[in-house]
């Protein structure tokens, strides 16, 4: 068997996991506070985005990937954003949403 450059060290994974659990508890607690619906959705989505970023960067190892992986991710999210903006520009204009 060849020697492996990596030794098993779960420290970083455990730190990320603890952060994810903390953010989950935080988002449940924050849902209890009395704010308008729009604000509540924005807060919940911000926490969810932070959690998703932690998973993408550390669990899915984007931090170790070449630049092209990050560009692909950016293009994908931007395209999704365009879909949302275009759809809502139509619905809001018509007074449906």
């Amino acid at each position: 068997m060849t020697t492996h450059e990596k030794t098993f060290n779960p420290r970083l994974a455990l730190i990320i996991f603890a952060s994810l659990v903390t953010l989950t508890i935080l988002t449940v607690l924050l849902s209890g506070i009395n704010v308008s619906d729009g604000t509540a959705v924005i807060i919940a989505m911000l926490v969810a985005s932070l959690k998703a970023a932690l998973v993408l960067i550390f669990f899915m190892h984007l931090n170790h990937e070449p630049l092209i992986f990050k560009i692909f991710l950016g293009v994908a999210f931007f395209t999704l954003l365009v879909l949302f903006v275009l759809t809502f520009s139509d619905y809001v204009y018509r007074g449906i949403a």
Binding site: H4, F17, F69, Y91
Partner: protein, 232 residues
């Protein structure tokens, strides 16, 4: 000119093949291709999230009333379960890369079991909804008189916003659960391949990609959880 260039390239290619003993495999290219597949998944769920966003903004109050019938505790427990399974998946890959095959297998089987636990809890949640006459209806089912009185036009029918909420709830959590099942089967195969010796500490690509898939399914749940269980 162009033709001779093509031919000479082709010849080089043939010579290469004849002289290369080991099969060439581009691990990074494979991974990039897998990320492209993951983006198709992103757009599958992205479309669902878009439909949810439009209908929610059109029926804010109805969505909140309907969301209150979902069990936040079970949703939160399932979130923690999936996060834990993502952790064990990462640890499985780390363990295998460091040569600890047995440890990698233990973490992998833990990941599969956590996925199963998620499905069991999801099953109880769905069963509770079925008991309250909330389920996915088919057009033929409605025509045969098997539709729910709460979801089909009639005196007992819920307001449109709530009908839309439950329809989206079943479609989105159902599609997500399907991904959990596919991920579980894939990890089962990976476990078998590790046992058989075709996935080794020097050849971890398949485990790595099944991990990427599993983490993506986790990311989708990270967004589903607040949208269905929290903003009530």
């Amino acid at each position: 000119m162009q033709r001779s260039l093509l031919v000479s390239r082709w010849e080089v290619h043939v010579t290469d093949q004849a002289h290369t003993v080991e099969h060439h495999h581009d691990e990074e290219g494979t991974r990039l291709g897998f990320w492209l597949f993951l983006y198709t998944e992103l757009f599958l769920f992205g479309a669902f999230f878009l439909v949810y966003a439009v209908y929610r903004s059109a029926h804010v109050d109805e969505f909140k009333i309907a969301a209150e019938s979902l069990n936040t505790t079970l949703g939160a427990v399932n979130t923690i379960i999936l996060l834990t399974s993502s952790l064990t998946m990462v640890l499985s890959l780390d363990a295998l890369k460091s040569g600890a095959v047995k440890l990698a297998k233990i973490f992998l089987i833990t990941t599969i079991l956590l996925g199963l636990a998620f499905l069991v809890i999801k099953g109880f949640e769905w069963a509770a909804k079925f008991e309250h006459h909330l389920f996915l209806q088919t057009a033929s089912g409605i025509a045969a008189g098997e539709g729910s009185p709460l979801l089909t036009p009639g005196p007992e029918m819920l307001p449109n916003g709530q009908v839309l909420f439950f329809g989206l709830y079943f479609i989105m959590t159902g599609t997500h659960a399907l991904h959990i099942i596919i991920g579980g089967i894939w990890m089962g195969l990976v476990y078998y391949w590790i046992s058989k010796g075709s996935i080794t500490p020097d050849n971890t690509g398949v485990l790595e990609r099944s991990g990427l898939y599993w983490h993506l399914v986790d990311v989708i749940w990270i967004f589903l959880f607040p949208l269905y269980y929290l903003v009530a």
